[in-house]
């Protein structure tokens, strides 16, 4: 195995690329203008592989691109018909698992989950809607947590801590009862800046800021005209060494 940082060759979708070993596959792909969909990954934050959207085939095995560091000789397929359908299915799972009523959601048009569904042109999920009974937690003075829209991607859990490193968010229970709880006892430590960050990392409308809303006019929303991922696909090719 090559040591981390050395220049290696990998094959993505039949084309050879140079990269540095140890870099996460999803980042290598992004640098090379290949979009691999994800809902839980945040560049620069330790990955978790929670949403499974970035599943790719690595030497014939399915692995998540966000948690897999590249190494010499890897053969990666990012978009076979099977992977395409798998991702579509995962998105559909998320839509039926929660209560995603886009017409009444402030995040509509700027929501990553919805944008991916647009990109995959999901017209109806293949799974039955579960209409779970979920609550809205508005106890925090700055934030609203709408559990109906939470896809349990763990982004808020992984990124939002207080000055002592204590968690504001954590998982609670397990399996299909899994949910995210909020540390209300730390509310004095959650300032406006942290609250904004929490809202920004949330891929759906599950975390929203209080006392403001619908700031972006309908025609100017993020995914109105351009599909999610096109910003990556249109990037200029990066040069090795720039990373």
């Amino acid at each position: 195995m090559s040591t981390n940082g050395s220049v290696i060759r990998i094959i993505i979708d039949g084309k050879e690329y140079l990269s540095r070993s140890g870099v996460y596959l999803i980042d290598v792909a992004r640098e090379n203008r290949i979009f691999i969909p994800t809902l839980c990954n945040i560049s620069g934050v330790k990955p978790r592989g929670a949403c499974r959207m970035c599943t790719v085939s690595v030497n014939g095995r399915y692995m998540t691109a966000c948690t897999t560091p590249v190494s010499e000789g890897m053969e990666i397929k990012t978009n076979t018909p099977d992977l395409h359908d798998l991702r579509k299915a995962i998105l559909e799972i998320m839509f039926v698992e929660g209560n995603h009523i886009c017409p009444v959601c402030e995040k509509s048009g700027n929501c990553d989950l919805q944008a991916l569904a647009y990109r995959f042109q999901i017209l109806v999920p293949r799974f039955p809607y579960s209409f779970p009974k979920r609550t809205i937690d508005a106890e925090n003075p700055l934030l609203v947590k709408d559990h109906n829209r939470c896809i349990l991607c763990k982004r808020c859990i992984r990124t939002i801590k207080d000055e002592q490193g204590r968690s504001f968010f954590a998982f609670r229970k397990r399996g299909h009862k899994l949910e995210i709880s909020i540390a209300h006892h730390l509310k004095d430590h959650l300032n406006k800046e942290i609250a904004q960050r929490a809202v920004d990392v949330c891929p759906t409308g599950a975390l929203l800021k209080k006392e403001s809303g619908y700031n972006i006019p309908i025609s100017e929303r993020k995914y109105e005209r351009t599909p999610i991922g096109s910003e990556i696909e249109s990037l200029k090719q990066s040069v090795i060494g720039d990373q």
Binding site: C51, L86, I151, R166, A170
Partner: protein, 621 residues
């Protein structure tokens, strides 16, 4: 089942052990015992739960303050494990196993009797706070079901009559010990440290279970060898992991030995949770010295000084026994410093108990759990051998693997390879349960056919065999000539036998689906949901509302689980997939033919609530 983790504090009904300020002192002492170390949160919670019977919010807040971690970080662990509770679960907490085998052996009647005698439903606590009734996944007693845990004590072969007696005794104020009247089990089960009614049921002994094992023999041998040579011997034996996954043990050790870092760990995975498996229980009871010697050998080979024996909560009745064996090992210098006089060979073991989570049998989830966290499997790479417990290189080996290693060291790799088949060397312990005359533990050489096994255990009129537990394969008679080996029917050793009386779909497949739904950690979107969808489909089919398309969709949807992180998610649809593959006619018999769509919608059910609300009889047209 009633939620043990209420959403709001108002839902808490404080029972017989009301929250008191003195509890704070107790919990402070517990936290001190674990050096205020947040990675020992599991132990802190286990001790707290066992002290009070539940862990109420003020206690959680106190642990949070003392360890300076967020309340939600404590709750995430607390709410993950089945045997932790945020509210009182009764002075006597009864966990009745709900595995498929328990059901086959008469659980239903036992459960109804329990409810009647205790005066409360499952998921609830009796009004006087005396008895709490709960269901739990397989507790490792499949050879003596129906079985239950009462305050951690195992009660096996329950009957309605016995249940009446037990509840009567508990109501009369007798101690739990006094409620055990059948006498004690065989072997070490009867010893003072265990005093349990559990039977070993060892039916066939091979080289591992053979009599005449002398503790320390392997250690005395290896201290004269270089660690590399120990690994070479293990590699030569060709032994593969006995937990089910079958990774070559020697290779695992070698990678760990070569991994950079001074501090390394040896874990023994004694979290056997696969329904139908109980062979590790027997080893922990009868051969714990061999197991710990195996851990020390592993420690010597890879250069680890610390071992952690991770034991499932269901086996806490063996705690004293295991601790006294460890203490005995230290006295004999088989554990501790300069083991067997070898300068620098230090190795010691601590026991880590789980708290009820099947997924912790997955090695990285087991490590997470031992670090005080939720048992969520990690993303790999890195593998535990590179970065495991506390991010140090870590070996996780199965109980049986470590015992086999001791025998390999004692008798040599060629001896070991002379048993079994070319690709699957040595022997395997089988946990046999279900419809047969002699359920129990059998040590066989790899290469036995299922037919051989069925003959051996006295099974007749067999409809199907579940090989490898719910995550394995359901096979029918036309496959009983297949052999148990890594190249054919690979198994962690559980074989559950179903005769022709059993309804495979209703009793078996549905039970296994419920098991996976209950035990999913929930981290992957796939594993959290697909088994729930499959259950809906199977319910529809069992209700005679299914159509051909439902079967096809079950197979299609099952494939989505391949995007899951760990073995649980990857195999969670196996009950459905293998039963459709091998018992298709059972499904075909239940579905509606000549119909391509059925919504499963039922108007009478759908309007019931609103009609009740306004006091109206539904008019169907």
């Amino acid at each position: 089942m009633k939620d043990l983790f209420p959403d709001t504090a108002d839902e808490l009904e404080i029972g017989e052990i009301a929250y008191q300020d003195t509890m704070i002192d107790t919990v402070n002492a517990i936290i001190k015992k674990y050096d205020h170390n947040p990675t020992r949160l599991m132990d802190i919670l286990i001790d707290t739960q066992s002290e009070f019977g539940y862990i109420p919010p003020p206690i959680v807040a106190q642990i949070s303050r003392t360890l300076n971690i967020s309340i939600v970080d404590i709750e995430q662990t607390l709410s993950f494990y089945h045997f932790f509770s945020a509210k009182p679960t009764g002075k006597y907490t009864i966990y009745l196993n709900n595995s498929v085998i328990a059901n086959m052996m008469g659980r239903e009647e036992v459960a109804r009797t329990l409810e009647r005698e205790a005066g409360c439903k499952f998921g609830d606590v009796s009004a006087d706070g005396l008895i709490g009734l709960f269901s739990t996944s397989c507790i490792g007693m499949s050879d003596q079901e129906p079985a239950a845990l009462i305050n951690g004590k195992v009660f096996t072969r329950l009957t309605p009559f016995r249940v009446k007696e037990i509840i009567r005794d508990l109501k009369a104020g007798k101690r739990l010990d006094e409620a055990v009247v059948e006498g004690l089990g065989d072997g070490a089960n009867a010893q003072p440290e265990i005093r349990s009614m559990v039977q070993n049921n060892i039916r066939k002994k091979g080289p591992i279970l053979a009599d005449g094992y002398k503790a320390g023999e392997a250690l005395k041998k290896i201290v004269k060898m270089k660690p590399e040579d120990v690994i070479a011997e293990v590699k030569l034996s060709n032994i593969r992991g006995r937990g089910g996954a079958g990774f070559p043990t020697g290779m695992k050790w070698e990678i760990c030995r070569n991994a950079p870092g001074e501090e390394k760990y040896i874990f023994c995975n004694a979290d056997e949770g696969e329904p139908g498996t109980f062979k590790d229980r027997v080893i922990l009871t009868e051969y714990p010295k061999m197991l710990m010697e195996g851990m020390a050998v592993a420690g010597y080979a890879v250069g680890a000084k610390k071992g952690i024996l991770y034991v499932r909560y269901e086996y806490t009745y063996l705690q004293q026994h295991l601790e006294s064996i460890i203490e005995g090992g230290r006295k004999k210098n088989y554990l501790g410093k300069n083991i067997c006089g070898k300068e620098g060979f230090d190795f010691d073991i601590r026991i880590q108990f789980g708290a009820g989570a099947y997924v912790c049998g997955e090695e990285s989830a087991l490590i997470e759990s031992a670090e005080g966290k939720r048992g969520e499997p990690r993303d790999r790479p890195p593998f535990p051998v590179e970065s495991g417990y506390l991010e140090k290189p870590t070996i996780v080996n199965n109980v049986e693997t470590l015992c086999s290693i001791v025998k390999i060291i004692n008798h040599g790799a060629p001896w070991y390879r002379s048993m079994g088949t070319k690709e699957s060397s040595g022997t395997k312990l089988l946990s046999i349960s279900g419809d047969c005359k002699y359920p129990g533990v059998y040590e066989i050489e790899w290469g036995f056919s299922v037919n051989d096994v069925l003959e051996m255990v006295g099974a007749s009129d067999v409809q199907a065999v579940q090989v490898g537990g719910p995550s394995g394969t359901l096979i029918g008679p036309n496959e009983f000539n297949r052999t148990l080996s890594y190249t054919d029917l690979s198994t962690g050793g559980s074989l559950i036998i179903f005769d022709k009386r059993r309804d495979l779909l209703k009793d078996v497949v549905m039970n296994f689906l419920n098991f996976f739904i209950d035990e999913s950690c929930g981290s992957c979107s796939t594993c959290r949901n697909i088994p729930v969808f499959l259950r809906q489909k199977l319910e529809k089919i069992l209700n005679a509302r299914g159509v051909q398309k439902d079967i096809e969709e079950m197979l299609e949807w099952s494939k989505i689980l391949k995007a899951s992180r760990c073995g649980l998610g990857l195999t969670a649809a196996n009950p459905v997939v293998t039963s459709i593959k091998n018992f298709r006619s059972l499904y075909d018999k239940k579905i509606q033919h000549g119909k391509d769509y059925d919504s499963n919608f039922d108007m009478l059910i759908a309007v019931k609530e609103s009609c009740d609300a306004v006091g109206r009889v539904p008019q169907m047209s």
